[in-house]
C-alpha cells in the first residue's frame, strides 16, 4: 500500500514547551487511522500542522507525495476536514454554506453534488434552514456533507460524533463506513470514544506528551497490553505519564 500522508520527525515547540516531539508516521490509501491520546497530548497540534494551520518547528509533511509547504493549494483541494468543535457560519442557510464551500473547492456541477450529498445524509429539508437552527445531529450531518463536497481523497475527522446521542452516533458511523468502503477514502480519525475506534479504525496511533507511545490495529494493541479493551489501553497510556 502507498502512503497518502507521510509525517517525518514532526516537532512543535511553543514558548519552550514541546507540544509535539519528533513524531513520524504514515497513513495509507484507504485506511482509517485513529489518532488517539489524552487531552493536551498533541493530537490537535499535529493535525493542524498537517493542514497547514500551524507552522511546524521541525519536520516534514508530505501528502500525495508533495510537500504541504510548497504544494498547499494542490494538496488541500484533495483533502477535507470536519470537527465537532468547528462550526459553519450559523447566520448562513445550510445551502448557502454548502454553495460557499463547493465554490471554494472549485467543485464542478456543485448544485448536483450538493443534492447528492443532501440525499445521502438526509438533509434535503434542512437546506433552506439557517445553520444555527439545526440540532447537533443535523449539524453533524451537514458538516460531514461539507467535508465530502470535493470528493476528498483524505479526510480529517476530529471527534465527529461527540455530543451526539447513541442513535445518531451509530448512524454517522455507518454512513462513514459506507462512504469509506464505496470511495476508498482515507481517514484520519480522532475521538475519545474507544468503542467507536474499535469499530471504525484499521489502525491506531496513541500519542501522549507529544510522542507516539504505541501503534497498531486495535485488536493487536489490546492483546499487546493484555487488557480487555481499547478503553483500558487508553487509560493505561494516559496514566503512565503521572
Amino acid at each position: 500500500m502507498k502512503p497518502i500522508l507521510t509525517v517525518k520527525h514532526l516537532t512543535k515547540v511553543f514558548n519552550g514547551i514541546t507540544a509535539v516531539n519528533n513524531i513520524s508516521f504514515e497513513l495509507y490509501e484507504g485506511e482509517i487511522l485513529g489518532f488517539l491520546g489524552p487531552n493536551g497530548a498533541g493530537k490537535t497540534t499535529t493535525i493542524q500542522m498537517i493542514l497547514g494551520l500551524i507552522t511546524p518547528s521541525k519536520g516534514e509533511i508530505t501528502m500525495f507525495d508533495k510537500d504541504i509547504k510548497t504544494h498547499r493549494e494542490e494538496i488541500l483541494s484533495k483533502v477535507n476536514f470536519s470537527s465537532a468543535y468547528v462550526s459553519l457560519p450559523g447566520n448562513l442557510k445550510v445551502e448557502e454554506n454548502l454553495y460557499t464551500f463547493a465554490r471554494l473547492y472549485g467543485v464542478k456541477n456543485y448544485k448536483k453534488r450538493i443534492q447528492e450529498l443532501a440525499d445521502f445524509f438526509e438533509i434535503k429539508q434542512l437546506l433552506p434552514k439557517l445553520y444555527i437552527s439545526l440540532s447537533s445531529g443535523q449539524s453533524t450531518r451537514v458538516n460531514l456533507a461539507k467535508a465530502l463536497l470535493n470528493s476528498p481523497k483524505l479526510l480529517f475527522l476530529d471527534e465527529p460524533t461527540v455530543s451526539l446521542d447513541p442513535d445518531i452516533t451509530d448512524k454517522v458511523r455507518k454512513v462513514l463506513k459506507k462512504i469509506q468502503k464505496e470511495n476508498g477514502l482515507t481517514i484520519l480519525y480522532t475521538t475519545h470514544n474507544m468503542k467507536e475506534v474499535e469499530e471504525m479504525c484499521d489502525r491506531v496511533i496513541f500519542i501522549n506528551e507529544g510522542k507516539i507511545v504505541t501503534e497498531g490495529p486495535p485488536t493487536k494493541l489490546i492483546e499487546r497490553f493484555g487488557l480487555r479493551d481499547l478503553n483500558e489501553v487508553f487509560i493505561k497510556i494516559a496514566r503512565n505519564k503521572e
Binding site: F14, T45, L53, I54, E96, F101, L104, G106
Partner: protein
Amino acid sequence: MKWHRIYAMLRRYLYLYPRSVPRILDIFFWPITELLIWGFLTFYLRQINTSIPNVATAILGALVFWNFIQRSQQAVSIAFLEEVWERNLINIFVTPIKMTEFLAATLFVGVVRLILIGLSVGIAAFLLFQFNIFSLGLYLVPFVVNLFFFGWILGLIATSIIMRFGQSAQVLAFALTIFIQPFVAVFYPVQILPGFLQPIAHSIPATYVFEGMRSVLFKGTLPIENLVSATVLNLIWFSIAITIFFKMFAYVKDTGQLLKLVD
C-alpha cells in the same frame, strides 16, 4: 489567484446583507443619520451667512468621502471577524484558498458597500440638502479610488492587530478610522492643526484628497500634486500594511494563535 474562490467568499459575505438588520443599518441608516446631523449644521451655517463660500458643500462632501474610508476599512476587518465570531476560520483556511484571495474578496465586499453607501448617501444628500456629489466632476473618480484604497489599507492594519491580540482588539474594526480622523483634516485644512501634528497629517494619503476636494470647491482647481501625493502615499502604506499583515499571519500560524482566535 482563482476567481471562483474570491467569488465564493464574496457571495459568502453578501448572503448576509439582505437579512441582517445591523448590516442594513450600517449601509443605509448610520451614514444617513450622520448626513442629517452635518446637513442641518450646514443649514445653520448658511443662515448665519458665513463669509466662506461653499463651506456647506465642503462639509457635506467631506462627510460623504469620510464614509467611503470608514466603510471600506470595516469591510476587511469585519469580514475577518465574521469568520472568528462564527468559528469558521479553520474551515476557511483548510480549503485551498490563499490569503491573497481572501483579501481580494474583502476588497470586492468593500466595493459593493461603497456603491451602496455612495448611492444612498449621495441621493439623500442631493434630496435633502441639494448637495450634488457629482459637482466635483471627474475629480470624483481618483478621489474615491484613493479614499477607498486607503480605507482598505487601514482594514489590513486593523485585521493584523486583531490577529495578533485577539478578539480583545476587535474594537479597532469599528474605531480605527475614528482614531486617525483628527489628523486627516477631513472638515478643516491641515494648517489649522498645531505645527507638530501637521507632519502626521501629511503622511496620510487621505489628507491630500480632502485638501484637494476643498481646493476644487473653493478655487475650482485641483492641484495635481495632491492626487499624486495621495496615490504615492497609498502605495507606500499598502506596502507597509501588506508586509505587516503577512508577517502577523506567519506569526499567528507559528504561535498557534490563529486557532485560539476562535476559542
